[in-house]
Symmetry: C2
Subunit: 496 residues, 2 copies
C-alpha cells in the first residue's frame, strides 16, 4: 500500500466510521428519549449486530496498514490529519496489545456487572457487587501491564485513556492543592440537614414553565436551533453528530426547579462546543470535543462561572420572575443568587455544589490509585471510603448506597475516568481567567446573551474540535500549561 492508496483507503474507511457514529448516536438518542419500553430489546439487538460491522471497520488489517503507511510519512499530512493518524496509531497499537479473549470476557463481565451493581446499590449490599468489582479491578491492573510504555506505567496508563497527556504527576499536584486549600474550608460548611432549602425554592414550579424558561436560557446562550433540538429524558445529556445535529435533553423536577435551569445551561455548554467546531472537521474523526475533561470544562464554565454569577442573573432574573410570578414575587435577586450558590457537605457527588464537588472526585482518584497499585483491595473498600470521606468532609456516609456504591462508573469497567470531572472544573477556571484578561466577562453579559463569551471560546477552544490534544489547546487558549491555582483562587474568592 503506497501513500496515495493508504490515504484513499483511510478516507474511505473514515466515511464509513462516521456513518456508524451517526447510527450509534441516533439509536442511543432514540432509546433514551423516544422508543417505547417494549421496543428497546429488539432495537438493541440490531445495534449489537451493527457493532460487529463497526468492529470490522476499526479492526480491518488494511486500515491498520493504511494508518502505518500514513504515519511513516506523516510530514506530508496536513496538521489535522497528522494528529488523527497519531491518535489512530496509538489506539490500534493498544487494541492489539489487549488479549482478545480477555477483552471479550471483560465485555461480558461489565454487561452483567451493571445489573448486579444496580441491585447492590438498591439493597445497600456491597458484598453482592464485590466479586464483580474485584474482577474489574483485576482487569484494569492487567491493562496497566499490557499497555505500559516507557512513558506510562501503572495508573497513568488508565488516566491517559480518558484524558491524554494528564498523568499522576499533574493530578497529584492538583489534588494536593485542593486538599491543602479547600478541605479546611469545606469542613466548616453546614451539612445537608443543617442547610435546608428555603420554602420558596421548594414550591411547585410547573413543568411547562420550567421548560419555557430553559428555552429562554438556550436562546440567551445562542444555541443554534436550526442545527439541534432539546427534549426530555430521565437524565439530562448532550448527544449528536458533527456540528449540524446537536441534541440536548433536560429533566424537570416540579419541586426543585433550579435543577432544570442549571442542567439546561450545563448541557447547552456541551452543545456549543459541538456546534462551534470548525465545520471542516465534520468530514474527519477529529470533530467533537478534544477530551472528556475539555468537554466538561465547557459545560461547567457556563453552568458555574457564568450561570451561577450575579452578573448573569442581574440581566435574566426578572425573566425568571415573569415566568413564575407567584412563586418568585417575594424572592429578591440576592436571595436567588445566594440560594444557587449554597455550599454544604453532602454525601452524593452528583448532587454536590460547586465548592465541594472536586473533593468528591479527589476521594475517588485516591482510591483508584490505590486499587490499581495494589495497596488497597476491594474487600477493604467500603471501610476505606468512609474513613477518607470523614477525613475530607467530617461526616460518614450512613450507608454504602450513599457511599461507595453511589456511582455507576466502576460497574462499567471505567477506571481513570473520574479525575476528568475535576480537571474540567479547573480548566474552566483557567479559561475564565484568560478570557477576563481579554475582556470583562461579566460586563459582557449586560448585552443579554453570551455571544461574546461564545465567540472567545469558539476561537480559542471549540474550533479545534479534537484535532489537537487537550493540553495543547489549553496552552494555546491561555498561554500556559494546566494551572489549578486559578481554580482554587476562584473558589476561595467566591466562597470566602
Amino acid at each position: 500500500m503506497n501513500f496515495q492508496e493508504a490515504l484513499n483507503f483511510y478516507q474511505n474507511q473514515r466515511k464509513k466510521m462516521l456513518a456508524m457514529r451517526y447510527v450509534n448516536f441516533l439509536s442511543g438518542w432514540d432509546m433514551q428519549t423516544e422508543a417505547a419500553s417494549g421496543s428497546i430489546e429488539a432495537d438493541s439487538e440490531q445495534m449489537s449486530v451493527l457493532a460487529e460491522y463497526d468492529y470490522e471497520l476499526t479492526s480491518d488489517e488494511r486500515f491498520a496498514q493504511a494508518v502505518d503507511t500514513l504515519f511513516a510519512q506523516k510530514d506530508q499530512l496536513d496538521e489535522v490529519l497528522r494528529h488523527e493518524i497519531e491518535v489512530a496509531k496509538k489506539v490500534i497499537e493498544q487494541t492489539l496489545k489487549i488479549p482478545k479473549e480477555q477483552y471479550a470476557e471483560f465485555s461480558a463481565l461489565t454487561s452483567k456487572a451493571y445489573a448486579v451493581y444496580v441491585q447492590a446499590k438498591n439493597e445497600n449490599n456491597f458484598e453482592l457487587f464485590r466479586p464483580y468489582l474485584e474482577k474489574i479491578v483485576e482487569y484494569n491492573r492487567n491493562l496497566t501491564q499490557w499497555l505500559k510504555t516507557d512513558e506510562l506505567q501503572g495508573y497513568d496508563v488508565l488516566l491517559d485513556r480518558f484524558e491524554p497527556h494528564y498523568t499522576m504527576a499533574q493530578y497529584d499536584e492538583f489534588f494536593a492543592l485542593l486538599r491543602e486549600k479547600l478541605v479546611p474550608v469545606i469542613r466548616k460548611l453546614p451539612t445537608e440537614s443543617q442547610a435546608k432549602d428555603p420554602d420558596w425554592a421548594t414550591q411547585l414550579f410547573y413543568k411547562e414553565g420550567q421548560h419555557k424558561f430553559c428555552e429562554y436560557l438556550r436562546d440567551v446562550m445562542c444555541f443554534d436551533k436550526t442545527r439541534g433540538i432539546m427534549k426530555e429524558s430521565e437524565h439530562p445529556f448532550t448527544s449528536g453528530f458533527g456540528t449540524d445535529d446537536v441534541r440536548i435533553t433536560n429533566h424537570y423536577y416540579e419541586k426543585c426547579f433550579v435543577s432544570s435551569l442549571f442542567s439546561a445551561i450545563h448541557e447547552t455548554g456541551h452543545a456549543l462546543y459541538e456546534q462551534q467546531c470548525d465545520k471542516s472537521l465534520n468530514q474527519t474523526l477529529s470533530g467533537g470535543g478534544a477530551s472528556l475533561g475539555m468537554h466538561e470544562s465547557q459545560s461547567r464554565f457556563y453552568e458555574n462561572m457564568i450561570g451561577r454569577s450575579e452578573a448573569f442573573w442581574q440581566v435574566h432574573y426578572k425573566h425568571l420572575q415573569q415566568q413564575f410570578p407567584v412563586q418568585l414575587r417575594r424572592v429578591s435577586l440576592k436571595q436567588f443568587v445566594d440560594y444557587i450558590n449554597t455550599a454544604k457537605r453532602s454525601f452524593v457527588r452528583t448532587e454536590a455544589d460547586e465548592l465541594t464537588y472536586s473533593l468528591h472526585i479527589m476521594l475517588r482518584y485516591e482510591i483508584e490509585k490505590k486499587l490499581i497499585d495494589g495497596s488497597l483491595e476491594v474487600k477493604d473498600l467500603p471501610a476505606y471510603w468512609n474513613e477518607k470521606f470523614n477525613e475530607y468532609f467530617g461526616i460518614v456516609p450512613p450507608t454504602d448506597t450513599l457511599g461507595v456504591l453511589q456511582d455507576v462508573h466502576w460497574a462499567g469497567g471505567d477506571f481513570g475516568y473520574f479525575p476528568t470531572y475535576a480537571l474540567g472544573s479547573a480548566i474552566a477556571a483557567q479559561l475564565f481567567h484568560a478570557m477576563n484578561a481579554d475582556f470583562d466577562v461579566f460586563a459582557s453579559l449586560e448585552e443579554g446573551t453570551t455571544a461574546k463569551i461564545n465567540a472567545w471560546l469558539g476561537e480559542h477552544v471549540h474550533k479545534y474540535g479534537a484535532s489537537k490534544y487537550p493540553d495543547e489547546i489549553l496552552r494555546l487558549a491561555t498561554g500556559e500549561d494546566f494551572n489549578p491555582n486559578y481554580y482554587v483562587e476562584y473558589l476561595l474568592k467566591k466562597y470566602k
Copy 2:
C-alpha cells in the same frame, strides 16, 4: 458452498440486512419527526454511505450463491424460509438483468426529478417536468424488456414488482366492474363546490383535544402502547421495525378535525398488521405486510368499513362529544355519520372519499398501461388525463396541478404502484364479507373495542406477515380468489 454452509451464510447475512432495516427505519423516522431542519443534510449523507453497505449485503455474490444452493434444495427448508428464498431468488435474478449503468442513471434521474416535479406542481407547469417524466417512462418501458419472462410481459412486469401475482388480467376485470357499476353513480354526485362542509365541521377543534381523542381511538383499536408510539409529522405515516417497534404519526388540522381521526384509525390499521405478525418472523425477512395492497387493505378496512360505520360511532360518538362539548353539542350522531360518509366529485385523489377513491386509481392504471405499451406519449398526457377525468367524473381539472401533476409517484420512478391502492380497498371488502360470515362484525363493536376484529385479522391475515404471497393469504382468509364484487356491492349498498 454446501447446504449447511449456505444456510449459515444466509442466516448471518439476513441478520445484517435486518439491522440495516432498523437503521433505515430509524433514520427516516428521525428525519421526518424530530431532527432540526439544518441537520437533515449531514444526517442524509451518512445514510447514503450506509446505503453502500446495504447494497454490498444484498449484492454479495456469496449471498446469491447461498440463495441458489438453498433454492436447489428448497424441499428441505421450512415453509417460511422456502418462501423467503423463492422471493430472494427472484429479486436477485431481476437485479442481475438490469444493466448497472442504466440503473445508476435512473437513480440519479429520479433524485433530480423530485425537485423538478415539486416546482412544476407549484407552478402548474407540466412542460417543466415533461422531459424527466419521458425518461422515467422510457426506463420503465426498458424494464419490461429486461425483466420479461414467459409468464410476465409488458405492464405486468411492473405490476408484479409492487403486488406479486396480480396482473392486468385481474386488474382489467376489476376496473371494468368499477367502470360499469360506479361511474354512473359517481357522475350523479355533487361536486366539491356543491357539497360544502356544514358549519359545525369547520369550527376550531383545538389540536390537543384532537390528539387526546386520537389516543382514545388508538386504545379502542387495542394498539399496544408498550411496543410503539404515536407522534406528529407533516403527513401521517406508519413505520417501525418488526412486531415490537411500531410507530405511527398524525397531523392535526384545527379547521378540519375529522382528518386526524381517520388518519389515526387508518395508520393504526397499518400498525396492527405489524404488531400482530407472528413474532417468530422477527428473525426473518418475512416480517411486516405481505404486500402494498394487503397493507392498504388493513388500513382501509379499519378506516372505512369500521371507522366510518354508524355501529362504531354509536359506541364512541359520545366520547367525541365529551372531548369537544361546545363544538358538537348540537350535532347528532346521524349528522356526524352522514358527514363522514359524504361522497362528492373532486379532483384530488388524496382527498377523495371512499366511494370515488378507486376511480382516481382506475384513471392512473389506464394511463400507465398506455404509457408502457406505447399507445400514449408523455407529451399528450395532460390532455388525455383531462379527457378521461371528464369521462369518469364529468368534470375537468382546472389546472394540471389539480390534475396530472398531483401525485409524486411517477417522479419517484414508480409505475405499477397506484393499482395497489384500489386493490387494498377491494381486498378490505372481501375480508369484511368473510369476517361477517364468522361473526357479526358491527355487533362486536358494542364491546367498546375492535378486539374481536383484531383477533380475526390476526389469525387470518396478520400472523403470516410476508411469509406467503398476498393472493395466497387472501385465499386462506376468505376461501376464494380475489373477487371485486364484494367491494362494489359494499359501496353500492352503503351509498345507495
